[in-house]
């Protein structure tokens, strides 16, 4: 059990690459925290610094209030699960899990007891005497977890532990990891590039980009109150739609039409000293087929009308894609975001609007559709800095 504090922790690699810049995170005892961000943003580097596998170039790492910068990994009493699992190929599953205990000179009886216990939790009893090479991906993953939990460390570090599993197994393992963490209540730092994992697993999520912390908060908070364009685009699937627009007297003009801002949004933008040019963001799930919105709400909302480009029927819902003629330009932030996330994931970076409609919608490809949205749900961003002008944290 441990509290982990990163105080302005910085990592500069010998080749000059600054992988992590002044990272401040306070991880409470027993907390499940997620580091998420696109590939190369410094997640693994940050984790390795907590583990002691990489030296810290600047700042201080404190574990339970004690400076740990100079401690070697074995003196930090932290267990780690690797993406590659890193199981010892020459040892059986039992020996793999027992390895940390043997190194700690625990007596045989206790080792056996602890390994059996961990195997019980992870449903590995039948496989204890097999070699890792003969196990399936999911089983190997569980052995890696087992090796981490046997010695009841102060904290778990996990670097993309589920990335090598197929989609279905990943979903199952996600649930078990979450359960396991709750059961053991051990401080856990979990690294992933997958926003779904970040949203579903963590008590709190740290969004990273280029070595800088973008925002820290609960998954729901990040979803509702992204601090900037990057977080808004990264969290949520499909991603938030972004359209350029101009603000004048509380009215937004964009490809979505002329929208009167609600009082709350207007107040926030004005308090933020909002510029005339903005980027408006709205999530796919905040649109609806106008014919399915009751009278009362329809009045309060705004609508736009366009031809459905592509329609994907998922059974429980429908995704309608619209091509709006105006190209989104003028935001370096957005261009970078698109590059980071792979532009396909950021609909707003082209001129496509993704909407999630009720399954009852009569939308059809090639036909016009009137789509409703609630202006209260609009988020407005500064195109220059990417700052969320409607942030209400």
């Amino acid at each position: 059990m441990a509290e982990i504090v990163l105080d302005k922790v910085t990592k500069r690699y010998p080749d000059g690459a600054q992988a992590v810049s002044e990272m401040n995170i306070e991880i409470a005892d027993g907390e499940f925290i997620i580091l998420v961000g696109p590939s190369g943003c410094g997640k693994s580097t940050a984790l390795n610094m907590i583990a002691g596998l990489e030296d810290i170039s600047g700042g201080e790492l404190r574990i339970d209030g004690q400076r740990a910068n100079e401690k070697s990994p074995k003196d930090r009493d932290i267990a780690m699960v690797f993406q590659s699992y890193a199981l010892y190929p020459h040892m059986s599953v039992r020996e793999n899990m027992a390895f940390p205990l043997r190194l700690a000179k625990v007596d045989d009886a206790t080792v056996n007891e602890k390994v059996e216990e961990a195997a019980q939790i992870l449903d590995l009893n039948q496989h204890l005497d097999r070699r890792p090479a003969n196990l399936s991906g999911g089983q190997r993953q569980r052995v890696a977890m087992g090796r981490a939990i046997v010695r009841s460390p102060k904290a778990f570090l996990m670097d993309e532990p589920l990335s090598n599993l197929d989609a279905k197994l990943r979903g199952q393992m996600r649930t078990s990891v979450s359960k396991l963490q709750k059961q053991l209540a051990v401080t856990t730092v979990y690294v992933t590039h997958d926003q779904t994992e970040a949203m579903t697993l963590g008590d709190r999520v740290v969004v990273l980009r280029g070595g800088h912390v973008q925002q820290i908060g609960s998954p729901q908070f990040l979803y509702e109150q992204p601090a900037n364009l990057f977080v808004a685009g990264f969290i949520g699937s499909p991603s938030m739609n972004f359209v350029p627009g101009t603000l004048e007297d509380g009215v937004l003009k964009s490809v979505l039409g002329t929208t009167v801002l609600t009082d709350r949004v207007r107040r926030l933008v004005e308090a933020a000293g909002g510029p005339r040019e903005v980027i408006a963001g709205i999530r796919p799930e905040h649109f609806e087929d106008v014919s399915l919105v009751d009278e009362k709400h329809r009045e309060a909302g705004a609508t736009f009308r366009s031809t459905v480009d592509v329609l994907e029927s998922m059974g429980a819902e429908k995704y309608a894609y619209f091509s709006l003629d105006e190209q989104l330009t003028g935001s370096e932030e957005l261009a970078e975001l698109a590059a980071d996330a792979g532009s396909a994931d950021v609909p707003g970076s082209g001129s496509t609007i993704v909407t999630r409609l009720d399954a009852a919608s009569a939308a059809a490809e090639g036909r016009e559709l009137e789509v409703w949205f609630d202006p209260e749900r609009l988020q407005l961003f500064d195109p220059k800095s990417g700052k969320n002008l409607t942030f209400d944290g």
Binding site: S72, K74, A86, P89, N134
Partner: protein, 318 residues
């Protein structure tokens, strides 16, 4: 089948078609295999001619009384030559010396080679230069290198001999001679060992070493409990190659001592009988005995360590 009107014949023909397709496939595979053999044949025949023939010929010679000085007395004597060799104390002295040199040099080469491999593996800058420099001894012709050691240890003129006590002539005594021979061997072949071991080091994933540090292993424990076991197949190959090579040691001894003071190896004994003594029968018997010993060493290595090597027990499931 000829009047395909009802359903049943249709099904039948489909089935027979499937069957014939299967047959055709295996026919194709057969043809492919035949072509493979044909393509290999020239190389296989040449190999047999240059290795198989001499082996068979020496075995045949070893069963003859055949001394070129008395060619008229050639006759089949069965295992007499082997008995003569195996009851001769010179042979056993040479065998002991060879074994001693083999065990000592391979052990030292393994330790030094491992250290050198670790250094080369870790070196980030000038890796190519470090490797090239380390390989220089291996690139020098053994006889030339042996002569340089010989002169270095020659009393009065040699720079190494002068470091010793006055009047010392190390190459004229059994112990010091063996030491110098071993030194020359180690100096020359450690780079080869290091190269083979470095290939093995590259097979140990970084994550494995990191996992071991997280599990609480110190540097020595990481080395002995993770790195060595994981690279065991590479170690096996490196040590086996060097053992087989060391057992056939000839040129260093030939140059440094000429086999005097009981320092001759089994290869030198063979040479003395076969080439100098012109006794083809005895010489061939010795050659065959060396061959058998080498085969035995290889067998013991592969059986003794091979099955325990990681990856050899996964039944191709990887």
């Amino acid at each position: 089948m000829s009047h395909a009107v009802t359903d049943a014949p249709d099904e039948g023909s489909a089935a027979s078609q499937a069957k014939s397709k299967k047959a055709k496939l295996s026919e194709g595979k057969k043809a492919e295999r035949r072509l493979g053999w044909l393509l290999c044949a020239p190389a296989a025949i040449v190999m047999l001619a240059v290795t198989g023939y001499p082996i068979v010929y020496s075995i045949w010679l070893s069963l003859q009384r055949y001394d070129l000085r008395f060619p008229g007395e050639q006759e089949f004597v069965g295992f007499d030559n082997y008995i003569a060799v195996l009851t001769n104390s010179y042979w056993w002295t040479a065998f002991g010396t060879t074994m001693l040199i083999t065990v000592v040099t391979v052990a030292i080469e393994f330790v030094l080679g491992m250290a050198l491999a670790l250094v080369m593996h870790r070196t980030l800058v000038g890796r190519g230069l470090v490797r090239t420099v380390a390989l220089i001894p291996y690139g020098i012709v053994t006889v030339a290198a042996a002569f340089s050691w010989y002169y270095a240890w020659t009393p009065e003129t040699g720079y190494l001999a002068n470091l010793l006590a006055e009047g010392g002539a190390p190459l004229t005594e059994y112990g010091p001679s063996l030491l110098i021979i071993a030194l020359a061997e180690v100096w020359k072949t450690t780079p080869f060992m290091a190269l083979l071991l470095m290939a093995g080091l590259a097979l140990v994933p970084d994550d494995l070493m990191r996992a071991a540090s997280m599990d609480g292993a110190n540097a020595w424990q990481r080395f002995t409990k993770v790195m060595l076991p994981v690279m065991k197949p590479a170690i096996l190959v490196a040590v086996l190659f060097r053992t087989l090579d060391a057992f056939r040691i000839f040129d260093n001894i030939f140059v440094l001592t000429g086999g005097s003071n009981d320092t001759s190896s089994v290869s030198m004994q063979t040479y003395n009988n076969l080439i100098k003594g012109l006794n083809l029968g005895i010489g061939s018997a010795m050659a065959v005995l060396i061959f058998l010993t080498v085969a035995l060493i290889a067998f013991v290595f592969v059986k003794g360590f091979g099955t325990a090597a990681p990856g050899s027990d996964d039944g191709g499931k990887r």
